[in-house]
Subunit: 254 residues, 2 copies
Amino acid sequence: MKYGKLYGVGVGPGATDLITLRAVNVLNSVDVIGIPKSSDKMRPFAWRICSPIVRENKNQEKLFLHFPMTKDHKILIPAWDKAFKEIGARLEAGKNVAFITQGDPSVYSSWMYLLEEASDRWPGINIEIVPAVSSVTAIPAILQTPLADGREQFCVVPATYGIDDLPGLCDQFDTIILTKVGKMIPQLIEILEELKLIKNATYVSYGTTENQTVIKDLKSIKTDNCDYFSMVQISIRRRRGALRGKNLAGENRD
Amino acid sequence: MKYGKLYGVGVGPGATDLITLRAVNVLNSVDVIGIPKSSDKMRPFAWRICSPIVRENKNQEKLFLHFPMTKDHKILIPAWDKAFKEIGARLEAGKNVAFITQGDPSVYSSWMYLLEEASDRWPGINIEIVPAVSSVTAIPAILQTPLADGREQFCVVPATYGIDDLPGLCDQFDTIILTKVGKMIPQLIEILEELKLIKNATYVSYGTTENQTVIKDLKSIKTDNCDYFSMVQISIRRRRGALRGKNLAGENRD
């Protein structure tokens, strides 16, 4: 069977003008835009980001797909199966489908579950991934604190699963980006205070959007305000400036 | 003194259409584009990427700045100082300057040396960083192998300085991106063979450009062909699919 082409398109961290030219082009040329949504109440975030650059086109289908926000496999698996079948119906009709994701498709996105199943469901299908600006680099741009230079190393870890690894990571890495920090803030504060690194951490939610919030004092964060689209950047940077001459190498001023 | 505005603009990993709309807008509105170049022989890579989207404008200055490729501080420091003074002359004249970098400005770029000195050299200066698609996510998009999902963790390490850390990193992380792998390939092969992870590694140079090279068998790489713009993605992904139901969780098929 000759299927349509399947795209995984990243639409960036939140600001519409951080979309790439390639994404604009793909989103305006496909037959179907697949839009993951988690609830009926909220307009899907990825669609909010890119809809201003999608031109009016009555021949293009906007296909909303339900991806529930739960870890319950009894709910998740049938929902994903239903979404993938809806995409499959379009691909089998020879239509090109672009599945959009907030941020970059290779970094904690729902696209990768579709990618993983695509070749089994639609053998021989042509797949293209359009990379995007990830929050992982958008947050350091907002804070004007680089992730890494010269000899430095950085890592990205979901706070919900990796917080116990934090003391070891702080020993090894110059910068640590924690994703999904929402509910983990109290525990994170405790660990960072013990490590004497609380001042090295900055919280950002909805980075690059009109709702962007930057909080330097983690202890001022009200737990119940914490958001799914939140990250913490921990900048330690012991190796900072290691490639520079002693005359120019300043102290760590962050 | 009222200075012009200083921008650090990422132009992405290599393909011109992976530039963001914001970068296009900034590059076409500033008075001066600052273009780092390492030699007189080669056209600077960042400029090759973005020049097709910079519109003809005889009032805009293209300011080429010499950033030599050396670790010798006796050469580096005076060269950088000269470059920063040339930028400063424009800022002091009230001109807006966009300093371009290949990839993202927060990830191993020469921009960050300028950022670090900017506030000392030009007190109160207004700085904006335009984040970009980084090779860190462009490479996984090419390989169609995600960096991380669910519980997974990834890290980015320069091979030239971090190769001895590799056994520990392979224990801890699901994906490891090694930058600047060029000369380190023989040593990398040795370590990966010992760890029985040689098949988990893929080499990519000049990713997303017309010269893109993807090599699955690292041992076939001729050392003297290795390039500065090269990376290796090591995908181990022990935690892959940990959030999925057992029925859908496949074996690691990479």
